[in-house]
Symmetry: C2
Subunit: 362 residues, 2 copies
């Protein structure tokens, strides 16, 4: 049985939709049990409204505090509010009382509590947020990072590539996910210094399936499985896509509502229209995996409804079943060793050439 902690107080519709979604989760996956972390009385009130479910698989962990979405200094709030639901949830992971976490509250609070309470995976330079998006192939694509790290170095992007590869392997069974570096063109010389240097570094990492630079249009329309980016650029890209999806929905509705004859055909084509919208629904493909911590954590959308919670639970449960963290550890260690060896070799070569030039000068 995989034990999943859920922050019952996080998100715009908490605790109602979160609790309802938790109950749906245990019905959809017989292999998970849930720890609902939050205000016991409120959670109990919501559970009482649910249809009959296996009570042995839902446990409440009472907490007395909450970190608001509006909190300005989240790191300080995380340190001070030791009984906040998100802090207690991460502590359960730290103490081995839960295997994974689903949290839909403030991104800042989840990021801070993750690093401060649970802790970072050894060897990872920067943890990152990695959401998943629908694509034209129907396989889904992940984008790492999307806002945890606005400014990055090439080594950070290399770690994002490794972590996101391990994640898609473990959670979605992708055998050899193809990695693309988000850039303003596909040629080697494209991009700012970060992209140019990251491209060089990623090319040396031959144990990854690095396919080179990709453009924005390749996120949803190419054979790329993992998109690597600094957090600022990634954030712009995925939110631009979200806006496009929303505009598409409005446009589809508008075209079908033009007149009585279009409305009639809309009624006849409901299954098709729903199919289109479902294929484009980024909420249906899951939340953002928070990569680089010692356990799997999914950050769900702030406005999460009950139907999304089982999707998030599946994401983390699959990460546990697929040994995501162990895979990631091994890959990170291998990469860091190889990079250290490469650096040592370069330093040696530099020293030799320096010695050579000294000799020449003599």
């Amino acid at each position: 049985m995989i034990k999943i902690a859920i922050d019952a107080m996080g998100g715009d519709n908490a605790p109602r939709e979160i609790v309802l979604g938790a109950v749906q989760s245990i019905q959809q996956d017989k292999d998970v049990s849930i720890l609902l972390v939050g205000d016991e009385a409120k959670i109990k009130a919501e559970l009482a409204l649910c249809k009959k479910y296996d009570e042995s698989r839902i446990e409440i962990v009472h907490t007395s505090e909450v970190i608001d979405m509006e909190e300005e200094d989240v790191a300080r709030a995380v340190r001070k509010k030791r009984d906040a639901s998100i802090v207690v949830a991460f502590r359960l992971l730290k103490e081995g009382k839960a295997d994974a976490l689903v949290a839909c509250g403030s991104t800042g609070a989840v990021l801070s509590a993750g690093v401060l309470v649970l802790g970072r995976l050894k060897g990872v330079s920067r943890p990152a947020l990695c959401p998943r998006f629908p694509n034209h192939r129907g396989t889904g694509v992940v984008v790492c990072d999307c806002g945890a790290n606005l400014e990055c170095k090439p080594i950070n992007l290399a770690h994002f590539a490794i972590m996101a590869s391990a994640y898609t392997q473990a959670s979605f069974g992708m055998e050899n996910p193809k990695i693309g570096l988000l850039n303003n063109g596909t040629e080697d010389h494209k991009g700012l210094e970060l992209q140019r240097e990251s491209h060089k570094l990623l090319k040396t990492m031959t144990f990854l399936n690095y396919g080179g630079n990709i453009e924005g249009r390749d996120i949803m329309y190419s054979d790329t499985d993992v998109v690597v980016s600094d957090g600022f650029t990634g954030n712009i890209a995925v939110k631009s896509i979200e806006g496009c999806g929303k505009a598409v929905s409005t446009i589809i509705n508008g075209q079908y509502k033009r007149n009585l004859w279009t409305k009639l055909r809309a009624a006849m084509s409901m299954d098709i229209i729903k199919g289109i919208k479902r294929s484009l629904d980024y909420k249906a493909v899951g939340g953002a995996m928070f990569l680089g911590l010692t356990k799997p954590v999914v950050k769900g959308h702030g406005n999460t409804e009950a139907r999304s919670v089982p999707v998030y639970v599946q994401q983390v449960a699959n990460a546990v079943r697929g040994n995501m963290i162990e895979k990631m550890k091994a890959m990170i260690d291998e990469a860091n060793e190889k990079m250290a060896a490469l650096e040592a070799k370069q330093a040696e070569a530099a020293a030799e050439s320096a010695a050579g030039s000294v000799k020449t000068e003599e």
Copy 2:
């Protein structure tokens, strides 16, 4: 009669689709005449294939050279190939023989020839590419810059805001276009240094309708008319949207082709499906206006087909009719004066406070 030069040799489908589109343009707008710039024999051969048209409104300007899409050093090619179609086309503008230009060849060649042959508008720090996109309101939204300037300073973004405002006013009759700064969040403190400083600067420019920071999702789904960005970020955003649009088309086709019953309803709903695709067709809303030169220039898509040429011709013709360049000049002069006054005031205040502190020290 507005005289529009068209580079007949630029684009993947040149000269055929360009020439065909030029003929369509004069049929759609009685107020324009076209100068087709390129290989006379080839252009004549294509014109011979067209249906009857008003020959007095299409003139050929023969050129003997072409700048390839693959040219590595475009600036050098522009300087050397003095009889290249794109160079001659810009020279016609410079010499007053044409009022505006449509070019679908290599972006680099258009940017280089624009600056080197035609020249930059006085007071503009950096010319910029400004494509237009469909949005959920059906009004269209422009994004400036999208790749002409990868790295920018706040003053560049301020000029982009002014130029794109003048453009939407002149070409699309928007009275008071609302400007948004593309960022990773809407709060004042969001973004990297460039966004934070640009946000501060834009707020001081009270003669613009600046609405503050916007997120990627607001490009297609908000009340913003003009999106301002550095070229790298803008490029990522608009290409991500393009990819989303392409994926949507594939998904719609897939849903309608599932089985005989869905195919039947597709056949019945052709007008609706076409309406949806038309609303999302970024080619139908026009090319990228190349802002910051002394005359209106549209850079069309590389794979332009004939049907897009009249759209581009309309864009530049409207810019001429709406006095875009004069509007832009006046706004740029006003902005630069105000900014200079502001700087002088700050320098004076700094000098006074320095003098004050010297006195105190005495």
